[in-house]
Structures are given as C-alpha cells and as structure tokens.
C-alpha cells in the first residue's frame, strides 16, 4: 500500500503531523510505520494537548516513591510496604460495547498495577451515565456493571468502592473509569525502563488477534452516527487468562530475572516496546514472525496495532529464558523470545526476513507533537437571588425524601452487590461508605480509597470544581479515619480543539493542582480522556479523583452508621447557606445557574486534620462528610445505615431552615460523640479554631425536627433504596 497524506489523515493524523513524520524520517513512512506513528501520536498515547498543563501538577511528597510517567504511581505506607495505584478511563469502548468495554477497562488497570510487581488488593470505579429517561441508559448501566463485575470477580480482587451518576450530558458518551490498588514490597517494585544490550525481549500472555486494532485512535476521536461500525475496535477480555498472567508474573518477579516489564495496553506491542526502549535510551529489534498469533496471515501492521488483552512484554537477564519459560508453561501461557535490546536507539521490525519498520525511538516519543491549545477562561457565575417566599412553601420532609431517592443520591446497592467486595478476606469497609477500606494483609494497617467527581460544580466553574473534587476525596478518606496520602486522576473532558472544553480542562487542572498542593495530597498517576462528546456537544467536565489514605491501626477505622441512642451529633465546619448548584437548587427549585460553593483550603485542611486528631484520640463514634444534599441528607444516611433516628435542631443562625439543611457549603463533616467526651471534643475544636454546631441527639428511629416535621427512618430508607431497583427491574 502506498502511503500518502490522505492515508495519514485516514489514520487520524493531521496534515502537518504527516509532514513532520516525513521530515523526521527523511522519507515517507511505509504503512506499518505510519500505523506506529498514528498510534503513538494520537491524543490518548501522546497527551499532546494536555502535557503542557499536566506538568504543573504537584507530584512530589514525602511518601511518593513513583509519580506520573510509569505504569502507575507508588506511595510508601511504612514497614517496607508500598501501594501502587492508578485510575484509567475506558469511556469510548464502553459506550460502543458496554460489557467488554468496561471489563477490559478493569483488566487494563489491574495489569498496570501488577506490571509493577504489586498484587492488586482493591478495585474501584467511577461510572457516569446519561439521563435515566434516555433510551440507552438502562442497558448501558446493566452492561457496564456486568462487565466490571465479570472481570474483577473472576480475578478475585474485591471491588470496594465507587461512584455512579446520571446526567443528560453523558447521553451519547458515558464514562467508565476504573481504579486499582496493589500492594508491593518497597524493594521489589518493577519498572518499564529497559537496560543493557542484547537482552532478550520476551512476549508472554495471550496470543495476538485482530481485536482492538486502532483502539487508541478511536478513543482519540469524537463520536458520530457511524459509531456502531466501530465495534471491531473494542477489545475482548478474558479475565481467566489475566488471572493466570497475574500469578505467573508475580511468580517470575519473586526471582531476579526481570530487567523491565511493561503491559501491552493502548496501542499494544507498539507502545510497550517503544516505551521500554525510550526509557532505557536503547533500541529494540523484534522479529514479528515470533509473535504468537491467534489468527493466520496477520500482517506486521496488524500485529503492531492489535490491542488484544492480557499480554506483557519483558526484558530478561541473559540466560534466564528457560527458568522464565517454565513458569509460563506451568500457567499454560504463551512465552516467546521475540527480539533483543540494541544500541541503535531505533525500533527495528522484521517480518519474513525483511525489515518492515526502522524508526528512531525519539521521533516517536520526545518529538511527538505538543500543542498549546487555545482556551477560554470561565467567568464565575453571578449568585442567584432565591426568593424566601418560594422556600417557605416547601415541606422539609417531602424535599428530603425526593433528594434521598434522586438517582444521584440513592443507594447503589443494586450495583455493588454484583461486585465481589469481600474476596481476599481483608475488606473491612464495604461499598456504600465514604471510602472502601482493606487491611494490609497480615498487619495492623489498612488502606482506604475513594473515587469522586463533581461534574456539576466543574461545569459551573471549572477552577472551583477542580479544587472541590480534591477536597471531597480528602474528606472521604478522613471520614473513615485515614490519613490522606496521594491521588490519581482521570480527566474526562470534551474536545481539546474546542476553546470552551479546553478551558474547562485547563482550569479544572489548575484547581486540582492548587488544592493538591495546599493539602499535601500529590498526584502520582492518572490519565486524560478527551473527545468525550457526540458531534459538537461535550460532556460536563468530569475529572475523577481517586484518593488513597492510610489507617495505622485498622481497629480505629470509623464508619458512618450512627452507633448509640443519646449520643450527640455535631457538624464541623461553617454552614453559610450556599444553595446555587446544590442538588436542592437543581432538582427542587429547578435552578441550574449560579456559582458552585466556594472552597476555602485553609478551613478544609484545618477541619480535616482536626477531625483526624479527634479520631486518633478515640472520641468519634461515627463520621460522614457533608456533600450533595447537604446536612440533612448526610444525617439521614447515617440514620439509615445505623438504624437510628435523630432529634434535629437548627442552630440560631440568621439563615432559614431550608438553607441550613440543604445547602452544600464545603469542608463539613457530621460527627457522633458520646455525652462523656463532648466537652473534650469541643475543647479540641475550639483550640484548633474549627467552627461547629450542635445538631442533635440520636434517638431510636425517627428523624424529628418538630411535631409537624418528622419521619420514621424506615420511611427514609424506603425512599433511599427503592429507586435504582425499581428502575432496573422495569
């Protein structure tokens, strides 16, 4: 096939990018080479629109062992233990084929983690669907949930937490973000940097098929009406093979045979081989006839661009081939020596005794395009003037029930019951709490993890929204008694070629960076997913933040269920009555404008750290952060979980009851303390200048404000638990 400009454009490259390729090679590429360039230079692999901005994120910290740039981030949790973690998107494939798309998303992220030598110990996910009324939503939700469960359950890794939201901006482009945490000994971490000349390059795992060719390019384009035709670009997963691959890799890693290892994810053999060569400043020579293929007559082009799942590339020490092969034979996996490292600094491919590609590695990596895209700064919207008259007519209990049954607040038990969340025998906080928590096997330590996003806030004002998501993650970890360590981010946005969408990206990233810097909560890994849009319409900007924290003694973990009648309930943090962009404003008042609640990073840090001190001192019986739906929603959930009620009183503020109960001011937590420790708790709060209100006293089973305004907890539970089950069974 003759390669020309049109062929390059058909591969998703821009005209000037093709010219650049010809300049770099000093000739035109052949078809295999063009395929390799298109795979390496697409948005998904090259981060060409985002690199410039991502550089500004804080990525260092006392506990950070490995920041962005490897397969996953690594943090130190003491005693020679480290946690490897990352979140990644699989949005486009999941919309086209929900089961396989979601399943392979989970498979891919687990591979990223065990490539580094870590055994996966927990999975999380953040999934976002269109409006419940949209004709595709139900099937997409069912398919995605089955896919996530199908893969994670088979791998025997518990899915311990997640987030699900519905918003019409995802009607034509759902989001599926999967996160994995793994546990590794600090001195047994594996990296992807090749080293040494003439070292054997080994291919292990599944055979290479024709599935997923150009998957990464598909993920770098917008959807149009021909999207269904893209089904063949979705990979097909086999969790059974991945389970074998995991065990085989960990067995090989226990020895000293491996120099470098890299999973074949997006852009398959192409990106894995180039990554290893580039990091080691080496060349790689591969004989494509040696690659185990599932189908006959596969061309070099197809072999290089296949995204078949469950494959790894390894650079071994010389002479260790037999020993390694034995392990992969035991697990019934393919093992082939396909090439060697060289000093050419080129990627050289051979097929049927002919050279089919000859590309300097730096042209693909360092010389890949980088764009400073135009972007538009967002203005802070004006505050709405909410008519007090309008609020007076509302009945608190009716509003509360509506909010508890709102698709974005209601119980997601239907979803997480389909995920095995208890396998491995260390899950001490199941889904449905503020964070999932797993013990570090055989120790007193536990690791907490949460995944959050607030698309509505980010859409209303990206800078504030970006900060808010990081703060929410911080709060969710603190609420279970964990000290926040670091985060991973999955940045889901519309087209970078659209100035408004690009602006949303730039300012969300800025917000994330500012909050992460202030809270000493660095970003150690992540991924960017652009082009989440159908035709011209982008999704609401949706950065997902995956936070990880440490509980030194798991017996001190906190849960959100109210524990004991007569205990006192306080709210930490000041309630100003910010209604704009709250669930209440958007769904009850039908008011979609206005700014999101402000973020005060000083209060955020101070309130959170003070609560950790209270938890450490053993004063806290239960805790929960206040998020969408405000104080009364948070309290109701604590009542439902603990099967207790509360006598609520509004403190003597100037704001009215509705604003007090439903506003979404930030930096707040609800805590339960015993009468005996109340004085000590108040002392500590005062000493640290933390604002608090006394909210009420726990009772047997009623949410009671006054004789006219009360409801049983059973009734609230029904509101909270039935919506999703009914929706899915209709």
């Amino acid at each position: 096939m003759i390669v020309n400009e049109q062929v390059a454009i058909d591969h998703g490259l821009k005209k000037d990018e093709y010219v650049k390729i010809c300049d770099l090679l000093k000739r035109s590429p052949n078809i295999t080479e063009l395929g390799i360039f298109s795979a390496m230079w697409n948005e998904h692999c090259s981060y060409k629109s985002s690199r410039l901005h991502l550089k500004k994120l804080p990525t260092k910290g006392k506990q950070v062992i490995q920041g962005p740039g490897e397969n996953a981030g690594v943090v130190d949790i003491g005693d020679n233990d480290a946690i490897v973690f990352k979140i990644e998107s699989h949005n486009h494939p999941s919309f086209i084929e929900p089961y396989q798309g979601a399943a392979t998303g989970v498979g891919g992220i687990m591979r990223d983690v065990f490539t580094m030598g870590a055994r996966p110990i927990a999975n999380l996910n953040s999934i976002h669907f269109g409006s419940p009324q949209h004709k595709k939503t139900k099937n997409l939700l069912r398919g995605v949930v089955h896919g996530i469960g199908g893969y994670g359950n088979c791998m025997g890794v518990p899915t311990i937490a997640g987030q699900t939201s519905f918003d019409s901006s995802y009607n034509g482009n759902i989001l599926v973000n999967a996160m994995t945490l793994g546990l590794v000994k600090k001195d047994k971490i594996f990296y992807s940097k090749a080293a040494g000349l003439n070292k054997p390059v080994i291919y292990v795992g599944s055979k290479t098929g024709r599935d997923g060719i150009h998957g990464a390019s598909m993920a770098s384009a917008s959807f149009d009406e021909k999207i269904e035709e893209k089904k063949p670009t979705v990979q097909v997963g086999d969790p059974f093979t991945e389970k074998l691959l995991l065990e085989a890799c960990l067995e090989l890693m226990a020895g000293d045979s491996i120099i470098a290892i890299q999973d074949m994810g997006a852009a398959g053999l192409t990106s894995s081989s180039i990554e290893m060569a580039s990091k080691g400043n080496l060349g790689i020579e591969i004989n494509l006839n040696k690659v185990p293929c599932r189908e006959s007559k596969m061309t070099p082009y197809e072999i290089m661009l296949s995204e078949s799942q469950e494959r790894m590339l390894i650079v071994l020490e010389n002479g260790k081939e037999e020993k390694a092969k034995k392990i992969f034979d035991k697990w019934n996996l393919d093992f082939a020596v396909i090439g060697k490292t060289t000093n050419s600094k080129k990627i050289e491919l051979f097929f049927d005794d002919q050279q089919v590609a000859d590309i300097p590695v730096n042209t693909l990596v360092e010389n890949s395009p980088m764009y400073d895209r135009k972007w538009k700064k967002a203005k802070l919207p004006k505050k709405n003037k909410i008519k007090k008259e309008e609020l007076k007519n509302l009945k608190i209990i009716e509003v509360l029930k509506k909010i508890l049954s709102n698709p974005n607040v209601c119980s997601k038990e239907w979803i997480w019951q389909q995920y095995d969340h208890t396998v491995m025998g260390d899950t001490i906080q199941k889904p449905g709490g503020d964070s999932g928590v797993v013990r570090v096997h055989g120790t007193k330590k536990a690791v907490a993890a949460s995944v959050d996003s607030s698309a509505v806030y980010c859409w209303a004002h990206p800078l504030t929204g970006g900060k808010q998501v990081v703060c929410e993650s911080f709060r969710n970890l603190i609420s279970v008694g964990a000290k926040p360590i670091a985060i991973t981010n999955c940045l889901n946005f519309g087209s970078p070629e659209n100035e408004q969408n690009m602006g949303e990206f730039v300012e969300c990233v800025q917000g994330i960076g500012e909050a992460a810097e202030y809270l000493k909560f660095p970003i150690v890994s992540g991924n960017v997913s652009f082009y989440n849009q159908t035709k011209e319409e982008g999704i609401k900007p949706t950065p997902s933040i995956g936070g990880v924290g440490l509980i030194k003694d798991y017996k001190k973990m906190i849960t959100m269920d109210f524990k004991e009648v007569d205990n006192i309930v306080l709210v930490i943090g000041k309630t100003e009555g910010h209604i704009d962009q709250s669930l209440f404003a958007r769904n009850i008042l039908d008011e979609k404008n206005g700014p999101p609640p402000e973020i005060n990073l000083f209060n955020e840090k101070n309130n959170g750290e003070t609560l950790l001190k209270l938890i450490e001192a053993g004063h806290i019986k239960s805790a929960h952060d206040v998020s969408v739906g405000g104080i009364i929603t948070a309290v109701s959930k604590m009542c439902i979980r603990g099967n207790k009620g509360i006598n609520l009183k509004k403190p003597k503020y100037l704001i009215n009851e509705i604003e007090y109960y439903f506003s979404e001011d930030q930096g707040r937590y609800i805590i339960e303390v015993s009468k005996d420790s109340l004085k000590k708790v108040i002392d500590i709060l005062n000493r640290n200048a933390v604002h608090y209100d006394e909210l009420g006293i726990i009772n047997e089973g009623q949410l009671f404000i006054n004789e006219k305004t009360k409801v049983t907890i059973d009734e609230l539970r029904t509101s909270n638990t039935t919506w999703l089950i009914n929706y899915m069974s209709k």
Binding site: C154, M155, G156, D238, P239, F240, Y419, D426
Partner: protein, 227 residues
Amino acid sequence: MKSSVITFPGSNCDRDMDVALNKFGFKNKMVWHNDAELPKSDLVVLPGGFSYGDYLRCGSMASKSKIMKSVINFANSGGMVMGICNGFQILVETGLVPGVLLRNKYLEFICKNVFVKINNKNNTYFKNLDSEVLEFHIAHNEGNYFCTKDQLKEIDDNEQVAINYCDVNGKTEDQFNPNGSIKNIAGIFNKEKNVLGMMPHPERMIDKSLSGEDGSLFFNNLINNLK
C-alpha cells in the same frame, strides 16, 4: 489436623481458605491441580473462584483435573471433602454430590451476607454446633441449586440437605432465597455425609472486622469434631 486446599487455574479463594484453616489450627498444604497425589489429609477443600474461567460449565473442567482422581478416591474411602462455591460446582460435576448449579434466578452476581439454617447436625461438619442459624456470606453467579424430583426425594430420604437459606430466625421462606435454589438449598452432603458442597464462604466470616464471625464458629467446631 492436616488439611489440603487444591489450587486450580482460576481459583481465587484458595489463599483465603488457607488463612482460615491455619487460623483455626489446621496444618494446611496448598496442592496444585496437576499433582497426582494428595498429601495425607484429614480434610480436603476445593476453594471458590473461577476454575478454568468457568468455561464450558462452572466446575466441569476442574472436575477432570489430575488431582481430582485422588480427591474422588479419598472421598469414596470416607475422607472429608468440602467444596465451597466454585468448589461446590466442581463437586456436583464429579457426581460426588447430586444435582446441578444453575445461573442465579435474577441473572446477576450476588455478593452479600445471608442466613442459613442447619438442616442436619448428624455429621462431622455441624455436630455439636450450638447455633441453629448461621450468618454466612455468598458471592456467586451460579448458585441456583437444582435437581430432579426423584433426586430430591432421595436427598430428603437420606437427609442430605446440609443448610438452607433463611432469615435471622431460621424461617426458610422463598423471600430469603437469594438465587432461586430449589427448597432454598445452600449446601448438601453425599449420602455418607463426608462430602459437603455449599455456596456460602465461611472463610470470609472469621473476624469481627470482616462481614461477621460465624465462620469462626464453623471452623472451630469442625476441627474439634475431627480431633
């Protein structure tokens, strides 16, 4: 007491079972599916997971593994063999216990705590347990127990039903059946009661920080009965 846990390709509760058995005093050995001989054991456990990726039918390929010949001989000569979840599916595929396990009635994987009522205490697994009802944990996609009418009669006549799904008070009504199993059956014995297959995972209930502690009751009692 010596125990063996068999690891098949795709087993994923083998480590959890190893942890549990060791915790309650067994000296446990992990046995690879491709081995021919079982080590000397007082109890053999087929653990949960997705042996052979559940391909063909859950448990069917594992039931033909090399080690299974020894396990079947061991069971037929009166040895104690317990299959949990996928292990139960393997047991029905070998024919050591009657019936089959179909896909859950609502076609979805279920992971949650359930209550089970002990139907028969006249055996080494449950004898001397004080409780009538245990809180166990299930996590499966194919736990819907089914058998023919004739088989059911035989199972009843021989008192082979081990545990039934129920509520906290031991009521075995339909609404407490999580997966559509015939007669709420959660676990059954062979005729001689030395082989037990059950869907719930007692190994996930061995610590009060986890889903509960009724698994501890079960294992403590089991090792005492074996002594």
